[in-house]
Symmetry: C2
Amino acid sequence: MNTVAMAPPPTIAPGLDASGPVAADLEEVERILAHVLKNKYPRVAEVVDHIQHYRGKRLRPLLLLLTARACGRVIPAHHVLAAVVEMIHTATLVHDDVLDGARVRRRVATVNAVWGVQTSVLLGDYLFTHAFHLASTLDDARVCRLIGAATDRVCEGELFQVLQRGNLDMSEEEYFDIIDGKTAELTACCCHLGALFSGAPTETVQALIRFGRCVGQAFQIADDLLDLIGEEKATGKSLGTDLEQQKPTLPLIYLLQKGDKQQAARARQILHGSEPRKRDLLRPCLLESGALDYARRRAESLTAEARAQLACLPPSPYRSILEGLTERVVHRNA
Amino acid sequence: MNTVAMAPPPTIAPGLDASGPVAADLEEVERILAHVLKNKYPRVAEVVDHIQHYRGKRLRPLLLLLTARACGRVIPAHHVLAAVVEMIHTATLVHDDVLDGARVRRRVATVNAVWGVQTSVLLGDYLFTHAFHLASTLDDARVCRLIGAATDRVCEGELFQVLQRGNLDMSEEEYFDIIDGKTAELTACCCHLGALFSGAPTETVQALIRFGRCVGQAFQIADDLLDLIGEEKATGKSLGTDLEQQKPTLPLIYLLQKGDKQQAARARQILHGSEPRKRDLLRPCLLESGALDYARRRAESLTAEARAQLACLPPSPYRSILEGLTERVVHRNA
């Protein structure tokens, strides 16, 4: 049995009515995912089914569907698109687990841990192609172009980050370039598709793209903070992988470049050393230098910017949920 | 320096005029590939550029372009599509090298050998998404659907094969299911797109899909034969990986299930043993049982079936080149 502990998926959108329209939208998305991911080979089906355990916050489908509802209407294409973006995200998670050698995700053994690297690489590919194929069934060339362009940037961001491993002189600008590609591009695309397919005017679509981009960047900063100082018990996944992989994230970049010289030197010493508990050793430096506070402030300023974009929408329960979601994106422990 | 030895790419289509229209078509495809694969980050560009060394037979672009010419005309969309299928194929090669732990491909160090697993996984993803995005620029939903469906089956075939590793009781039917997915689906798709976009009538399109499917299956049988009995010097890549990975291919399946009982028992003993030179030890059994001949005959009967499909086309130099290509697909040493 691969399940470490059963827990309900965390809620990232407080205010969601469990019997309301968005909950029904999400159920429809689950039905589409289950249908698209069926496979005739029992062995393949077993592996594909395993990723249901990864079910998490469904942030991307939520952004797409809430944006659509806040713009006035949800049409069947929205459900399909929400399934597409979730599959793309899951593909990147499956491959991330190969990159990080992660054994546990959302309290469940990873595909990598159970079936190994080969199966994980191919399962990720399988999810990517099925996502693109599903997108093409909408018979709308715009969809394939938008999703293709966004996914290009996701992969470019991930590739750039991996090739920057070990570069402790990485700039803040490069960090933001990376997270904008690997995370914010897809969340921006979700809001773009949500607004576009609900027939929103161009200015609203543009504001919501900006909203999705800010939310994505803030989410990634918060994620990187959790990797440095979160608790594995709460997050349900392996932490400290960024340090193990020598990937500098915002707090570390701040500490090394803007922190007290002595603390920065101590941090470099820890990072270059062979001590395995780098995460614990670095924590005092990160705390005392103000690096953690700095990263939190940057995330909060992004969510404030995100909320400002929502002014283009008429007041509605969905706009309120989107507002609440921006708070939850940064203030979370999982 | 990663280059083991420089050699011109092998020709798989004898009769091609180096200054003729198909050569010009291929040059246009190279221009598109170079343009699409440019990247603003020097580190990313370096990795992406490395795959130019993998440049091989260009079988898939050739099938697409020759089919189009044989059907009467090549339009600009054909060049784009030829670049798309080559990128999808290259993505699978990059990931195959991760799966096989291959160090050398086409006489050049693999991305996996130079930059490692992480970069290889992400580069493959990058190629997949750029291929889909490029396909979407044609603004034709059919294209995205055809390519999406074909690539779904490619990944399904690869995933099924990996999950069947070590299953020495795999049936011939399962083997053909695997190669039809992982190889023949994409070659069939090439011929489909070539014929469709040149405006060929439905029956011609159907015959050419069948042609591409037979060529793909024959090509894969020949490839699997090379892995068992080819020479690394000639092929320019690591061989014997199917045995190392415990992937049964046609000759082995024949030997184990239809060969002389004693030879089959000897083969099982070798496969279960810890001896590293399994390939050399198995060769006498494969030869004496007629397993190699059997696989060659199956490949030849597929190419005969492929050639029969070409009867739907009017005589032309392109039809002749396609005929010659079917021969070359099975009678090759690289």
